[in-house]
């Protein structure tokens, strides 16, 4: 299993500790301490996952996240000391797939990283339809009328999870478990933000979603195809 992880953190002690833990789990960590150099390091190391601290000297984590997301769909897990709604939502909206609040346990971190990386293991060839979208699960592509829509791996997973069982209403907790790999119910804001992001890409009118439909008081389901 590939395991190159880019750790973007200015706290050297934490970075070193992260390195110890990650190496212990069989990952290959590389480090960058400055937001300005993060993008260059990203291009150079081509990691499978980015661990990104939100508060950085130079460019802050949000900006870095946006830049990385602009050129790659590599999973980004944010490290944040702030669990306030605004901070978390801003982080997620800038393109992070997941976040983990400091202080975290090493096992928790590793579980999140594995959950993000697991996705890259070979999926079975599978064609799904949701609304007027065609999803090629193995080819990792989503097409509407032949036009392909670029989605990040996480958004793709979310869409696939919904499309596989169009009859089922997914609660946020279930989605957290299936898409993010959380075993215990965690913050459902993750789901909300990512659904918004997914809608902004796949819906014709994100204000009146037809692909990912909200079931008020319960969760989400796939729209009729």
């Amino acid at each position: 299993m590939k395991g190159r992880v880019l750790v973007v953190d200015d706290d050297t002690a934490l970075a070193e500790m992260l390195g110890i833990v990650l190496r212990g789990e069989g990952f290959e960590p590389s480090f960058v301490a400055d937001g300005d150099k993060a993008l260059a390091a990203f291009r150079e190391t081509k990691p499978d996952l980015v661990l990104l601290d939100l508060m950085l000297p130079g460019r802050d984590g949000i900006e870095v996240c946006r830049l990385i997301r602009a050129e790659s769909g590599v999973p980004i897990v944010m490290l944040t000391a702030k669990s306030d709604t605004v901070d978390v939502v801003v982080g997620l909206e800038s393109g992070a797939d997941d976040y983990i609040v400091k202080p975290f346990k090493p096992k928790e971190l590793v579980a999140r990283i594995r959950a993000r990386l697991r996705r890259s293991e070979e999926p079975a060839p599978e064609q799904l339809a949701i609304g007027d979208l065609l999803i090629d699960v193995a080819g990792h592509s989503v097409k509407r009328d032949g036009q392909s829509i670029a989605l990040t791996p996480l958004e793709f997973d979310l869409l696939v999870a919904l499309a596989r069982k169009p009859w089922q209403v997914f609660t946020r907790e279930v989605l957290l478990e299936q898409v993010w790999g959380y075993r215990h119910a965690a913050d459902t804001r993750l789901v909300n933000v990512h659904v918004q992001r997914l809608r902004s890409k796949v819906e014709k009118d994100p204000e009146r979603p037809e692909i990912v439909v909200t079931v008020r008081g319960v969760g989400y389901k796939a729209g009729p195809s």
Partner: protein
């Protein structure tokens, strides 16, 4: 009182009466007056027609009354009008009186001179006549002469006066012989015009007398006018007395007077109207800035802090404006400072959070790595690694709680409410707490989850609150079962967590929400809570606009109830679940009493003195009156250690309505020896159906509880 304050609040009637029940406090005074009067009348004759009439009269008056109450300008102008009208009227009366007196005095003097002259002429005329025809005059001849003479005399005297005066000659006394008919000049009705009182006076003595009278004319003459009558008794040519009167009509004077009156009235009217207008203008000058200030104050209080008054000149109004503006300025400054402070506080919390958490993360990870490797260490180091990891957990949760509470304090906590089925939340919480409960030897039962219990709530926060309550209940439940009860009614949903453990001592129900409060510092805590859990839970409940309340009795367990409004912007008026559980000792006592009162669940019969022949007294069958039971009715304080023994009278119990009944009963009538006691329904099986009952009571009593909760 041995109950906690939150629970006993509904039991104090004063609390409930203190709660405003009247729909509006703004009935007009006038309206109340009418109401009061009508109440009285209703008591006497009970006429709905009158009430209808009063309402009909009052309705159009209400806007006027309101305008009157609210408009100082109107009041000042009205007062000015009334007062200036009074002054003008007074002035008018005085002036008119003066003028009339002056006019009459002048007329009187002129009339007296005229009359005196006339009387003299008449006297001389008579004397001359007597002298001329003295010898020849005798018998009927003389009489004839007298008659003629008087005619002449009247004509002669009146000839100089024209319409300025009239002359009337009347017979003296009651003498009304031939030739003594009244003679008068200028169509005057002599007898009618001269008042009889004046005639008797003239008869009685010599000298001239005068009186005001009405001069009446014959049919051909003009209308009657007021006049001055001067009369004197004179001898005629036969030396017989007769009365000669001068009548001066006051036509001219009346004209003058009415002219003055008219002028005065016109002037007075003008003055009153002008004064009113002036008052209106003057008051407007004062009221306008005041109104402006009021408007701006309202806008200020609505949060538009940049609003200022316009200030012109240097007068008092301008000073008011300046002072007002200064106040607003200072207020704005202070608010700004506070806002800055709050923002700084928030920043600080956020920064501290970050600064503390980053090294803590490193420590945490290092500790975990060490902890993982502890098997390779010697026992002392290994145990140290364990302690390190454990205490780091505790430190972490403490830090998290502290940050959470400071976030509440800074007002930085935001609610993310969406329709949530509390049953799911409860299930998750119960699922999470079950292992702990099993370790303690008890179970967690969920009651009332047949129907969805949906409210607009922040599931994350509600879950945190409930987890806290359930874990607390398990921890303090002494290994007995914990009952989680859900309820929805009206605009509220509630979750109550009941345990049967050590319970709460009196007064503790209010203190449990204090930060770092611990029921018993000596008691071991299995889960090592931070002491902030309930404080955070309370803040979470408040953020929802909900309540978190506690009830407990020593040794009888406790109940914590979370009540949330069904929609986020709704205000709570009550809770679907009573704060004091049905199976509390007191309620068991009352329930049992209610059964004795004849199968009416909420009716509590209280015993009469067995010796006296009094009929058993029963409490009115509302649950509210059951709760009126004085605080002294704590079961533990009564004989029979809690199980209140309620005797049943042999005859059919007579239900009396009266609030005093309970007090009297609780004071002295609880006796064990008295007749049979109905076995208390102590099983918890009856809980479910009880949950649905008595919504009104909760609606009334809950705000009082809320007050006591907020008081912390």
């Amino acid at each position: 009182m041995s109950r906690d304050s939150a629970a006993s609040a509904p039991g104090e009637p004063g609390d409930r009466q203190g709660w405003p029940v009247s729909p509006s406090g703004r009935t007009s005074r006038f309206g109340r007056l009418i109401d009061g009067g009508l109440l009285l009348q209703d008591g006497v004759q009970g006429s709905p027609v009158l009430r209808l009439f009063a309402r009909w009269v009052r309705r159009p008056l209400l806007p006027v009354m309101r305008l009157w109450r609210r408009n100082i300008q109107l009041r000042v102008v009205a007062a000015t009008l009334v007062m200036s009208l009074g002054v003008v009227l007074l002035l008018g009366f005085v002036v008119i009186g003066q003028v009339r007196n002056g006019l009459l005095d002048a007329k009187e003097k002129a009339a007296q001179i005229q009359a005196t002259g006339g009387f003299k002429v008449a006297q001389e005329n008579a004397a001359n006549g007597r002298g001329a025809g003295g010898g020849a005059a005798n018998g009927g001849m003389g009489k004839q002469n007298s008659s003629l003479w008087r005619n002449d005399l009247v004509t002669q005297l009146s000839s100089g006066g024209q319409s300025a005066f009239h002359v009337v000659a009347l017979a003296a006394g009651s003498d009304a012989g031939p030739g003594r008919a009244p003679r008068a000049s200028g169509y005057v009705e002599g007898l009618k015009s001269v008042p009889s009182e004046l005639r008797t006076r003239v008869d009685r003595a010599d000298g001239a007398y005068q009186s005001f009278s009405r001069i009446v004319y014959t049919e051909n003459g003009p209308d009657p006018v007021a006049g001055l009558v001067i009369g004197k008794r004179l001898p005629d040519i036969n030396n017989d007395p007769y009365q000669l009167y001068y009548l001066f009509p006051l036509t001219q004077e009346e004209k003058s007077l009415s002219l003055v009156k008219g002028t005065l009235a016109t002037a007075g009217l003008f003055v009153v109207v002008l004064l009113g207008a002036i008052a209106w203008l003057v008051v407007r000058q004062v009221v306008t800035p005041v109104r402006m200030a009021a408007g701006i104050a309202e806008r200020l209080s609505a949060g538009r802090l940049q609003e200022r008054m316009k200030v012109t000149g240097e007068d008092d109004i301008a000073r008011l404006g300046e002072a007002f503006n200064k106040m607003a300025q200072n207020l704005q400054l202070k608010i700004q400072q506070l806002e800055d402070l709050s923002r700084m506080q928030r920043r600080f919390v956020s920064d501290v959070s970050h600064e503390l958490r980053t090294p803590l993360t490193t420590v945490r990870m290092a500790a975990d790595v060490i902890h993982e490797a502890r098997v390779d260490f010697d026992p002392v180091t290994g145990r140290s690694a364990e302690l390190l990891a454990d205490q780091l957990d505790r430190f972490e949760s403490l830090l998290a709680d502290l940050l959470e509470i400071s976030r509440f304090d800074a007002g930085a906590a935001a609610l993310e409410a969406e329709p949530t089925d509390l049953r799911d939340v409860v299930r998750r919480v119960v699922g999470g707490a079950e292992p702990l409960a099993e370790a303690k030897g008890g179970r967690i039962r969920v009651v009332g989850d047949a129907q969805p219990v949906v409210a607009e709530a922040d599931a994350r926060r509600v879950e945190r609150v409930l987890r806290n309550l359930v874990v607390n209940a398990v921890e303090h439940g002494d290994g007995k079962d914990v009952v989680v009860r859900l309820g929805a009614a009206g605009g509220a949903v509630a979750v109550a967590v009941r345990d049967y453990g050590v319970g709460l001592k009196p007064g503790e129900a209010t203190r449990v929400f204090n930060r770092f409060w611990r029921a018993d510092p000596a008691r071991a805590r299995t889960t090592g809570g931070t002491g902030l859990g309930l404080s955070i839970a309370l803040e979470d409940a408040r953020l929802h606009g909900g309540w978190l309340q506690a009830w407990g009795e020593p040794g009888g367990g406790s109940q914590f109830r979370l009540t949330l409004p069904r929609t986020a912007d709704e205000a709570l008026r009550g809770s679907p679940i009573p704060l004091e559980p049905k199976d509390s000792r007191r309620n068991r006592g009352l329930h049992e009493a209610g059964l004795a009162g004849g199968e009416q669940g909420k009716q509590a019969t209280v015993p009469a003195q067995p010796v006296s022949e009094r009929a058993p007294v029963a409490v009115p069958p509302t649950a509210s009156s059951v709760l009126v039971t004085p605080p002294s009715a704590d079961p533990t304080a009564l004989p029979g250690s809690g199980a209140r023994v309620v005797p049943r009278q042999v005859g059919p119990p007579e239900v009396l309505t009266g609030g005093g009944a309970v007090t009297g009963a609780a004071a002295g009538a609880v006796t064990e020896s008295a007749t049979e006691a109905v076995a208390p329904d102590a099983s918890t099986g009856g809980i479910e159906e009880q949950v649905e009952a008595e919504p009104e009571v909760r609606a009334v009593s809950a705000p009082a509880e809320e007050e006591s909760t907020r008081g912390r």
